[in-house]
């Protein structure tokens, strides 16, 4: 059981997993790289398999959708898929680990630090993962599972550590100068601040800054679909909205309806009802704090003139935007709130997109429309276009970057 500090003050670094003395950072950094090994080593795959099993045995995580998704992603067959993708990467030569990778984990998606670490671990790297000092209960549960994994697989896990410390540039500089690759999961401010902290001359950095996501549903195909298909779509959408209080960068905050206004209105109203039912099925008892947050946000939108209607329900609040151009709120609400807007065609969406848009999850778009969207939207910043229900599926291609490349080096052999 790792020791979880209440509120470590800055300047103090604590090893969360594996447990070790707080002064051991220098010793750890000095030889961490020597434990790097070949990519997809059987003992590393076995360690992740154990982690998957331990997560599924955890009383809370096994029932938590994000915990269950993570366990699913770490199981043997899924890792075999990842490896197959890795082996297909082009390049005349050998892929070797980057060396020591420094991950700065985000605070909004509790499971992400494990995905980031696991990809790097599979590449054969040694890793130091810095977590926020405000550990959520879910993060603490995940650390307990990681610790058990480290105990079962001490050899495979050597050179890997999960640490926490406050806003201390000296510690960050120490790790940054020791690492070969730095992976920073934003906010924009974190990314900017980390960028000002030097890396070793040969090291590289990949930053994931703040992003926003949206959904697009074509009204005509939606209205043509029968009850089971509509319910299924609502269920998939709830999978994109429910985890992490809808605050993952990939969870949509705005839902754009494509079609004639009349059709859009009918489809939106129908989907609003079904989505509430799907969220209720997924989340159970509604959350009071979330409800108050949605009320505050939606009435605020109305008072500003950005919302023409507000429909508050136990798990969701549907807001109709006055116009598509102000459907996206300056500050995302999350917690089950969707801003809705109507567009005549996909073409009207692209002028609304910006560099910080990440995922468009869709329903009812033709292949041609998706292609047009990829070209038009991609130029303005969108990174992913995926079916509704898969917005939160994490993979090695993220925010438009190929993480395999960031986590390994290619030794050219001719």
């Amino acid at each position: 059981m790792p020791h979880l500090p209440d509120a470590p003050s800055s300047g103090i670094l604590t090893f969360l997993v594996p447990e070790a003395g707080g002064s051991a950072l220098d010793a750890f950094l000095a030889d961490a790289r020597s434990f790097a090994g070949p990519p997809f080593a059987p003992e590393r795959i076995a360690a992740l398999e154990s982690l998957s099993r331990i997560l599924l045995a955890h009383p809370r995580l096994k029932r938590d959708p994000a915990g269950a998704s993570l366990a699913f992603w770490l199981r043997k067959a899924s890792i075999a898929n990842l490896e197959a993708g890795y082996r297909l990467l082009p390049g005349p030569g050998a892929r070797v680990p980057a060396g020591l990778v420094f991950h700065v984990a985000p605070a909004n998606v509790d499971t992400l630090f494990i995905y980031s670490w696991a990809l790097s671990f599979l590449c054969g790297n040694s890793n130091v993962v810095r977590l926020t000092t405000r550990l959520s209960p879910q993060m603490s549960d995940l650390l307990v599972c990681l610790d058990a994994t480290f105990v079962e697989h001490p050899g495979a896990c050597r050179g890997n550590a999960f640490v926490t410390y406050g806003h201390d540039d000296a510690i960050t500089t120490g790790i940054s100068l020791a690492c070969d690759s730095r992976i920073v999961w934003g906010g924009d401010e974190t990314v900017q601040r980390l960028r000002s902290i030097p890396l070793a001359p040969h090291a590289s950095e990949r930053s994931f800054a703040s992003k926003r996501s949206l959904s697009v549903i074509a009204a005509a195909p939606y209205l043509k679909a029968g009850d089971p298909a509509r319910d299924q779509l609502a269920d998939r959408m709830s999978a994109d909205l429910a985890p992490f209080a809808q605050m993952a960068c990939s969870s949509p905050q705005v839902l754009y309806w494509l079609g004639a206004d009349e059709q859009c209105r009918e489809a939106q109203s129908d989907m609003g009802r079904r989505l509430e039912a799907a969220m209720a099925a997924r989340l159970g008892e509604p959350d009071l704090g979330f409800a108050v947050r949605r009320l505050t946000h939606s009435f605020d939108r109305a008072a500003s003139g950005a919302a023409s209607s507000v429909n508050h329900r136990p798990h969701t609040t549907q807001v109709a935007s006055t116009s598509p151009s102000d459907a996206e709120a300056e500050e995302a609400c999350g917690a089950g709130l969707l801003n809705n807007a109507f567009l005549a065609s996909v073409g009207e969406l692209t002028p609304l997109l910006r560099r910080n848009h990440q995922t468009i999850s869709y329903f009812g778009l033709t292949e041609r429309e998706r292609g047009d969207l990829a070209l038009g939207a991609g130029k303005d910043g969108v990174d992913r276009i995926v079916p509704i229900g898969r917005a939160l599926e994490f993979g090695p291609y993220w925010d438009g970057f190929n993480l395999w490349d960031d986590l390994s080096r290619l030794v050219l052999v001719e």
Binding site: P106, G187, A209, M247, R293, D300, A302, V310, A332
Partner: protein, 367 residues
Amino acid sequence: MMPAATVDAEGLLAGPPFALRDADKHAVLLPALDALTRRHYALCEPYRRVVDAAFGGLQREPYASLVDLPFVPVSLFKRHELRSVPADDVFRVLTSSGTTGQAASRVYLDRETATLQAKALVRIMQHFIGKERYPMVILDHEDVVRDRASFSARGAGILGLMQFGRLPIYALRPDMSFDLEKVRAYLAAHAGKPVLFFGFTFIAWQHAIAALDASGLSLSPHGGVLIHSGGWKRMEASRVGAGEFRTRAQATLGVERVINFYGMVEQVGSVFFENALGDLHAPVFADVIVRDPFTLRPLGPGRRGLLQVVSMLPHSYPGHSLLTEDLGEWRGVDDDAAGMPGRFFRVHGRAPHSDIRGCSDTYAPPA
């Protein structure tokens, strides 16, 4: 039933504040709130937008029940300039910072509304302490009310209550320490007279009651009353219940009665004082509704939800019907045991704020 046209806030304010049974009160209150809803709809654009978006616009026919009236979340006063009078008519702006780091509410008062608030408070206070003005000790320090054009909720509360005392003094120094010599001298000078104490619940507790208790001291005025108000949030953290607060206030301050009231800067004047049951009681010019936070439907007695407070006092800003972030339940109406007719309720604290973190900054230092 009285015809709506003959009663207004003025008329109701002239009478006793706890005299009407619920049905009789609503015959007066409902038309007044209906008129306020239409007034603010016509004069305050952000309010009109909210009514249009969240309530489908104004109802054409008069509202048939208090629960049908539109309402706005109190948080709206933090983000929008909500007023129904020209800026020139604003003569005082009340502010409340709420929790540290959050935006402050801004409440725009014209002379009419400020007068109505003052009159309402006089009616309620006189009901509880009589018409005589007693020596008064404010359990706070004077710096809180320095700037008289723009008041914090704390300052507004103190100034509102101060008029009910004679030669009031502040018991605390600016560093919040209790000025025992000053208070003792004051009480000695007014020996034999009942004394009125007023303070915000947590400040009264922490810096007066508990501070005196810790030094083994007590004051001994001749009878008197402590009136206190303010959130119980910080009190809950110190695990002090209403009963313990009362007995220890009686022991240290030497007061006979301890009366809590519930009010907010967005509805100054129409405050809810404790009745004989220890519940908070609605005066004739205000009322309380409890709503399910998930469906917004009104709840019956004994069921917990978000408190909505209505008041016929706010004319210069659309604060006559507010959905608070406080949880509570209404417990009865026109019950003889309460000592007065009307509806009464309890507050169960603030709804928890969800700790939702956006694409959040884990490393950037707090701004």
